[in-house]
């Protein structure tokens, strides 16, 4: 029950509900209505941005489970996304399998490969684990580039549009509906995961793996589960990305993308579900803003040194991360929480 002083729950079931008040249900309904009506008022361009943001959210949620909840730093996330993208592309293009089978396979293959690269997490952590995940990034891309008969190598490979039954997801609006459904599922899974036994085990391992072990948690088992789930979501994101772009090349999955994903979850807020969502939206919109502003800056300030705008994107990205680390280390999620709290007593 919602009261002026907060929300009071009368049962454990009420206490654990994702939406605990009628007002939350209403806002959720409004959000869903807004999203599902979006193709009516967004053009292809903004739908394209929304699609990319949705895919980024799914991948960032995966990295957040691995890094934010379980504390396992991964700098190879783009590699795992690539595994998913190529798995789905190969299944649907080479073997003419249905899209949904390709999508699920993409998740599982990425998850399994993630587990393989997660094995060193038994012995190493922190920066050392980060180095081993960087190795994953390079090994995966090398294999993709050189397994030419399957992946097309450096030439790349085309990917058919996603289709379920007789529905073909060709345009941006139909792809938007497809992607938004998977975003909702991924958010729901991620949010619930944190409240399950594995979720609590992840957090315990992140906070102190020795203490977790003393409490009876098997760190190796749960670290591998975290790698599987994190990379499973990366694979799903990769599959959607492949069918969205329609053409794959290993150059599309660089280590800079992996670093971008880390930046997204830092800016959004580690260890929360809303964090990767806010971080993804913020970064993708920032990128679009820079894309639009760069040409205008060039023409407005012709006296700028040649190539000045060339550095604006990376500079702003770096500056934003620094500002967040200094001013809001808990990310946009914390800021969002403060805004919600301040409105709780509104208008007082």
């Amino acid at each position: 029950m919602e009261q002026a002083t907060g929300v009071r729950s009368y049962s454990y079931r009420q206490d654990m509900a994702i939406f605990r008040t009628r007002r939350q249900w209403i806002w959720f309904g409004v959000l869903l209505a807004f999203l599902f009506a979006a193709p009516l008022y967004w053009g292809n361009y903004w739908l394209g941005v929304a699609n990319l943001t949705g895919i980024t959210i799914i991948a960032a949620l995966g990295l957040n489970i691995l890094t934010g909840y379980c504390g396992q730093l991964s700098i190879g996330h783009a590699g795992f996304i690539a595994v998913g993208a190529y798995t789905s592309a190969i299944m649907t293009n080479r073997f003419e399998m249905p899209f949904l089978l390709g999508l699920v396979s993409a998740g599982f293959i990425s998850g399994l490969i993630g587990m393989v690269f997660g094995i060193p997490s038994l012995r190493v952590k922190g920066f050392y684990l980060a180095i081993s995940t960087i190795a994953a990034q390079f090994i995966i891309i090398w294999v993709i580039n050189h397994w030419t008969s399957l992946t097309g190598g450096f030439t790349g490979m085309s990917v058919p549009p996603a289709s379920i039954g007789s529905i073909n997801f060709i345009g941006q609006s139909s792809q938007f509906y497809l992607i938004i459904v998977f975003v909702i599922i991924a958010v729901f899974l991620s949010n619930n995961l944190s409240r399950t036994r594995p979720g609590r085990a992840f957090i315990a391992i992140r906070d102190n793996d020795l203490a977790a072990q003393v409490m009876g948690i098997n760190p190796f088992k749960y670290k591998l589960i975290a790698f599987f789930i994190g990379c499973f979501l990366a694979g799903i994101a990769g599959s959607l990305l492949a069918h969205w772009t329609g053409f794959l090349n290993a150059e599309n999955f660089t280590i800079m993308d992996s670093i971008l994903y880390i930046g997204i979850i830092i800016i959004g807020g580690l260890g929360t579900t809303i964090g990767p969502i806010l971080g993804s939206i913020f970064i993708r919109l920032l990128q679009q803003a820079i894309t639009i502003i760069s040409p205008l800056l060039e023409s407005t300030y012709p006296t700028l040194p040649a190539g000045f705008t060339a550095g604006i994107g990376p500079m702003i990205f770096g500056l934003v991360i620094i500002l967040f680390l200094i001013l809001e280390p808990r990310g946009l999620a914390h800021r969002w929480s403060m805004v919600k709290t301040s409105f709780q007593m509104w208008p007082f």
Binding site: S158, G246, N249, T300, G307
Partner: protein
């Protein structure tokens, strides 16, 4: 009392906001590089997806500058295309495939008639969406996968496979004087630059009568190719073909000299290798090597050279001498020619992307592009716009043309099972 971090945040936000006020104002009124974005109804709107930043900015920036300078020239000095101003919407794709996808969506959404990219990678990211929308565009640097099978995407210049085919033809006709098949060893950069040449050799070598005895790969960061060259030397090759970038090419050439292979064998290279940087790096070791390139040199006596040089020196002097500037100045001229043909054939009021493709792209017939590169012609079934390269040789430290335009044959990659 405002907290200190909040003060810093507010200060940074204020500075950014003040800096952006004129930008936003300019964005509303339009106007960049001769374009008039958002202004007028009869303008011919085109989209440029440029890798102005990111890892390919070294090439993307001069190319971006060149095409925008060229459109400025077309608008201001030529009075536009048939009296209509060309309106440019350009976006920096940062050499990022995901960004390229959103940009092509925006270009289509904003009512552009056609689009271009600099690189094969960015076109690869954009082409599926463009093809599905029947939206025409071309890329300066091309790869076989973009134009095979031919759809709505075109290649401005011959690809790395065409380089190999043209050099092989020239070699057989003008250099090779032995008996039987010449033995060729290929040194390939481990990316599309190298693999394009490999695929062409795979498709054509046997029919042309060339024996490929070795295919050696190297990375862009290679510091020695002594090992691979020693292996190749034992096979007694007649010709080394290098499809790479200048630095690795210079290392291969210097190592070949050190091993006593060169002079002796013929050394040829593709257009990504053959720049003045190669000559600077390899020094006298580069004397006599052959290479192909699809454009003329700076200072050559061709119709477009004076105006291009004038604009480059006035607007972007840092790009003077850069061959990439030439390729994209030519790109700007081709865009204008495509639009001119389309306007002439269907009229300004009936222009659609499909009409531009049908009556612009497909009407190109021997357009000279100011003499900057080979003639631009559409041939049904062949989406390469310019198909010609020239053979050059390094003489006394200069890269000197030794042939006229050589047309690279169309390779039907899609007929081969191994082509993805």
């Amino acid at each position: 009392m405002i907290r200190k971090p909040l003060k810093i945040f507010l200060a940074v936000s204020m500075i950014l906001a003040i800096a952006l006020i004129p930008v936003i104002g300019n964005g509303c009124s339009g106007g960049d590089n001769g374009s008039t974005e958002g202004e007028g109804t009869g303008d011919l709107k085109v989209g440029f997806s440029i890798c102005y930043t990111g890892v390919a900015a070294e090439k993307g920036r001069p190319m971006g500058n060149a095409k925008l300078d060229c459109i400025k020239y077309v608008n201001e000095e030529m009075g536009g295309v048939d009296g209509h101003q060309v309106e440019v919407m350009w976006r920096d794709n940062e050499y990022d495939a995901a960004k390229a996808v959103t940009i092509i969506n925006e270009i289509i959404d904003r009512g552009c008639l056609m689009f271009t990219t600099n690189s094969s990678k960015m076109m690869g990211a954009s082409m599926e969406i463009a093809n599905r929308a029947d939206f025409p565009g071309f890329t300066v640097f091309s790869a076989p996968a973009l134009t095979h099978p031919p759809q709505h995407i075109y290649g401005q210049m011959p690809d790395y496979g065409d380089d190999w085919a043209a050099f092989a033809r020239y070699y057989l006709d003008n250099i090779w004087d032995g008996n039987g098949k010449p033995k060729m060893a290929m040194f390939l950069l481990n990316n599309p630059t190298g693999y394009g040449a490999r695929d062409a050799a795979r498709a054509l070598a046997e029919d042309m009568g060339i024996d490929i005895i070795a295919t050696e790969e190297h990375a862009a960061t290679t510091i020695s190719e002594m090992e691979s060259l020693t292996r190749v030397k034992a096979m007694n090759p007649d010709v080394l073909y290098i499809s790479s970038t200048p630095q690795p090419t210079s290392i291969i050439v210097q190592n070949a000299v050190a091993l006593g292979m060169y002079p002796g064998v013929t050394v040829g290279c593709g257009h990504a290798s053959l720049t003045s940087v190669l000559v600077e790096l390899a020094g006298s070791d580069a004397e006599g090597i052959y290479g192909v390139y699809p454009t003329v040199n700076w200072g050559d006596d061709v119709p477009a050279m004076d105006k291009m040089t004038e604009y480059c020196q006035e607007l972007h002097p840092e790009d003077y001498g850069n061959m990439d500037y030439i390729t994209s100045w030519a790109e700007g001229l081709i865009v204008a020619e495509i639009l001119r043909l389309a306007v002439e054939n269907v009229g300004i009021d009936n222009l659609t992307p499909q009409a531009v493709e049908e009556y612009g792209f497909k009407a190109l017939d021997g357009f000279s592009a100011g003499g900057l590169h080979g003639p631009v012609t559409y041939t049904p079934g062949d989406n390469r716009l310019s198909k010609s390269v020239r053979v050059f040789q390094v003489e006394d430290g200069d890269i000197v043309p030794i042939s006229g335009w050589i047309e690279a044959p169309l390779i039907k990659y899609e007929d081969f099972d191994w082509f993805s």
